[in-house]
Amino acid sequence: MSTEVLTPEAKPAEPLFSKKNRALITDPLNDNNPITVQVLGICSALAITVKMSNALVMSISVLAVVVVGNVIISSLRNVIPSRIRIIAQLVIAAGLVTLVDIMLKAYVYDVAKQVGVYVGLIITNCILMGRYEAFAMGNKPWPSALDGLGNSLGYAWILLVVAFFREIFGSGAVMGMRVIPESWYSVNGGFYFNNNMMILPPMALVIVGIIIWIQRARNTKLIEAA
């Protein structure tokens, strides 16, 4: 078994945060965002964004699973037999996701109840397998960790923005704290209604669509040649 993969500083040249390495984190935030550009992981972006707190837990869980998984797979990349590499990646992903699930249930039970079903579905989140197969299998652990971090942050900010709009218009709150006063509501004699559409998954798709629209309008790199 080769061990040199575990020590990225073995080769003298590259500093830990070289330009190339920084791009691994910053690229997925905008130019190569997993949700809005690669359109991966959409299903969880629709399902889990009713409340910001759920989106946050989901993002942290995905971050843990992608970063740790990337490092493990990258360290093993020279020994994973290529014929079973997808299965090996899946076993590692499933193992990590199950670990996260068990820990959520033990330590943050209330959140686990809310996001429980979706945590299991992280296994099928395309971002995971995408990063494992496309990046970690061909790169050293440190860049893989950065790549995982970048991609999950890119995933996280979209999730949080979508959840922000859905929660404020759907439930009149942000992170569970009420921002639209109770007295505004029509049940209390006011003029305001929560938008029930916001609570349902289709609105998440619309919001993601709007984010993609704005992003493409501003980021010229994403505009395809006419």
């Binding site: 020279n78 039970y109 349902l200």
Partner: protein, 245 residues
Amino acid sequence: MAFDKNSNSFTFIFAAVLVTVVGTLLAVTYMSLKPAYTENVRREKMQNILSAMNVKVARDAAPEKYKELITETLLVNAQGKPVEGDAFSLDVLKQYKDWKAGEVKSEDLKYPVYKATGAEGQLYILPMVGTGLWGPVWGYLSVKKDGRTVYGSTFDHKGETPGLGAEIATPVFQDQFPGKTIADENGTYTGIKVYKGGTGTTDPHGVDGISGGTITSDGVNEMLIRTLAIYDVYLKSTNTSTAAR
């Protein structure tokens, strides 16, 4: 490198080692965190029982409050007669699923009763399970000493539609229950009906359902009528014995 990582034997060895390592890791973590999880579930159940008698406590404070307020627990059988057994550890949701699957007969079902002493005197807290649109719905109803007036309620669900069926878990639905009765003045059983949403019912034995959550409301209706019928027999029997005293 001396070995061929793509040889058949190495592929098998790699797969076996990987699966063993991951499996062991998961088993160890699960076993070590299971007590914390089971404790969370236990506390949540206590929290729900207390919530049905309008006592809202944090999950961590639930065991203490439960010990203070719940005076007695018992099981009743399908004929409404008290039987031996531990009420708290009976998983009514599992029992319901087994019953639906035909593994448990109707006459073998057990119904837990929690007796509590609150600010309003003695209460009976009655758990129940039914089926909503997407999965199970369940709840606890507390009934006053007279055995027919509802004091409080709490309902929850596994995955009803947010904003529609899921509204059964909110005060909008639950606050309709206090003051309703499960039997009329002559003691004839009525249960509590859940009417179609938005009708604004004034029925003393019925509540308004959820608009747009008709199937969930129907499920809650079925659950209430079916389960309360059993509890009604029990409540009547205890109240006659108190009256005869």
